[in-house]
Amino acid sequence: MIDFEPIYLTLKLAFCTTIILLVLSLPLAYWLAYSQLKSKVIIEAIVSLPLVLPPSVLGFYLLLAFSAENAFGKFLDQYFDIRLVFTFPGLVIASVLYSLPFMVQPIQNGFKSLSKSLIEASLLLGKSKTETFFKILIPNIKKSILTGIVLTFAHTIGEFGVVLMVGGSIPSETKVVSIAIYDEVQAMNYHNANVYAGILFAFAFVVLLCVYSINHRFSKTSLLQ
């Protein structure tokens, strides 16, 4: 019988990661798009690191950092009673770091595509930067935000390396679908592996289908707007 727990866990992980990243990325992308500081290239490079780094490298460093043997892990354990290795919260933090560029980059490009005079016009109409951000900038980069959300969600679902390193394969805690497939193949349960793989395959296709059809619709309406 197929165990649906990994599917539920995968969706929960993707959901948490996406929400956290959306909240983090809007101000971060705004800063990256408009800051005049020269040192921002360093932050830009760090944000994009997960795109080129093997997941196992990132997972390895996170594992070291979270471990109770080391300062950061010890600090969390002693003062907050938080253990991040082989736990769901640890998985969420790892996913947030790993999917960061998938949320930040589309939003940053969205901000960059807007004419700077939109912001200046709003300021000259007496509006604060916060009001300008929520009433002018965000509504005009909806398409980019949506792209970021969908990509982050899908990318989190497709994770394997980081999740395996940080979370291992603990049922109901860290065993997500991609790990479950690996386990089932190891155990020669090709039928179950097939079902999980089929679900992920169909899901990935549907997600991309949505992204492209939304993009098409947006580009049509923006012509009509």
Binding site: S115, L118, E120, S122, L124, G126, K135, I136, N140, L223
Partner: protein, 291 residues
């Protein structure tokens, strides 16, 4: 009255340039900034509106200090009460024409100004359309209307008419003059078009490499000698034809081509494309080169 005394180092294409300006604009005056691109016109508007900071200097508007680098006074753009019409109009794409205007309302401000401006700029028919559905001239009117919602005392126009055709241009100039008079504005326009400057401005300030090279009425600035005429128009020479002993000069004034008879000595420093001042003295129209 606007007192403007500013210094700012700029990175121009030709290297470093010092923008060093000192001028006074009277209340309700219509002033045009004229000059080659890169001479500092737009930067002047941006410094006045607070979007760009100056290195040194002071700006006083109607006896209020907006900027005084010696006393560390710097009013943020939000508090300067300036209507600014951008070259690209800067209409908010997510809002309809009416919403663009409503966004500009201050907290608790009377909403009747919206209807008034929609009527004045003839935008009632378009009020529910989004900016992307509008033509260049229509966007221009929306941008002007939106800038006027907060009833500012100063209107800044950064080459607002460069992207529209001649017919539309003439109409928009009328809208601007109308708004200037109705709301008793002090208006500063950046323009390259001498005909436009003649039609609209009381004072022209000519900028050259960040300095004021000439200042005065359009006639003082653009005509080498003063013409006392009964009527005068600015136009562009389309063609000069020889007919027996005289020349026929075709001049484009607004959208009309006017043919003028000229003698050989009158046309000797004129050629196609020249901007000319066409004025009538007694009975014979006379042509004077103004550029």
């Amino acid at each position: 009255m606007i007192v403007f005394k500013i210094q700012k180092k700029l990175q121009a294409a030709s290297g470093e340039m010092l923008l060093d300006l000192d001028f006074i604009i009277k209340e309700n005056e219509f002033v045009t900034l004229y000059g080659a691109s890169g001479s500092g016109k737009t930067t002047t508007l941006r410094i006045l509106s607070g979007l760009t900071t100056a290195d040194k200097g002071m700006i006083t508007v109607h006896n209020t200090s907006w900027l005084d680098t010696d006393n560390k006074v710097q009013l943020p753009p939000q508090k300067r009460k300036i209507a600014y019409v951008f070259q690209d109009y800067a209409l908010f794409p997510n809002m309809s024409v009416r919403e663009n205007l409503s966004y500009a309302l201050e907290k608790g401000q009377d909403k009747t100004i919206i209807e008034e401006l929609l009527t004045l700029m003839e935008l009632e028919q378009l009020q529910h359309q989004k900016p992307a559905q509008l033509s260049g001239g229509q966007k221009q009117r929306v941008a002007l209307a939106r800038a006027l919602v907060q009833k500012p005392a100063i209107l800044l126009l950064d080459e607002p008419l460069s992207a529209v055709d001649n017919e539309m241009r003439a109409k928009l100039q009328d809208y601007i003059i109308q708004a200037h008079r109705k709301y008793k504005l002090t208006t500063i326009l950046v323009s390259h078009d001498i005909a436009e400057i003649y039609k609209m401005s009381d004072q022209v300030i000519v900028l050259e490499n960040g300095k004021i090279s000439k200042k005065g009425t359009p006639e003082q600035v653009f005509s080498s000698r003063l013409v006392s005429g009964k009527f005068q128009f600015v136009g562009e020479i389309l063609k000069i034809e020889k007919e027996n002993f005289v020349y026929i000069v075709s001049v484009l004034i607004g959208n009309n081509v006017v043919k003028i008879i000229a003698m050989e000595e009158e046309i000797k420093d004129l050629e196609m494309g020249n901007k000319v001042l066409l004025a009538s003295k007694a009975f014979n129209p006379i042509l004077t080169k103004i550029d």
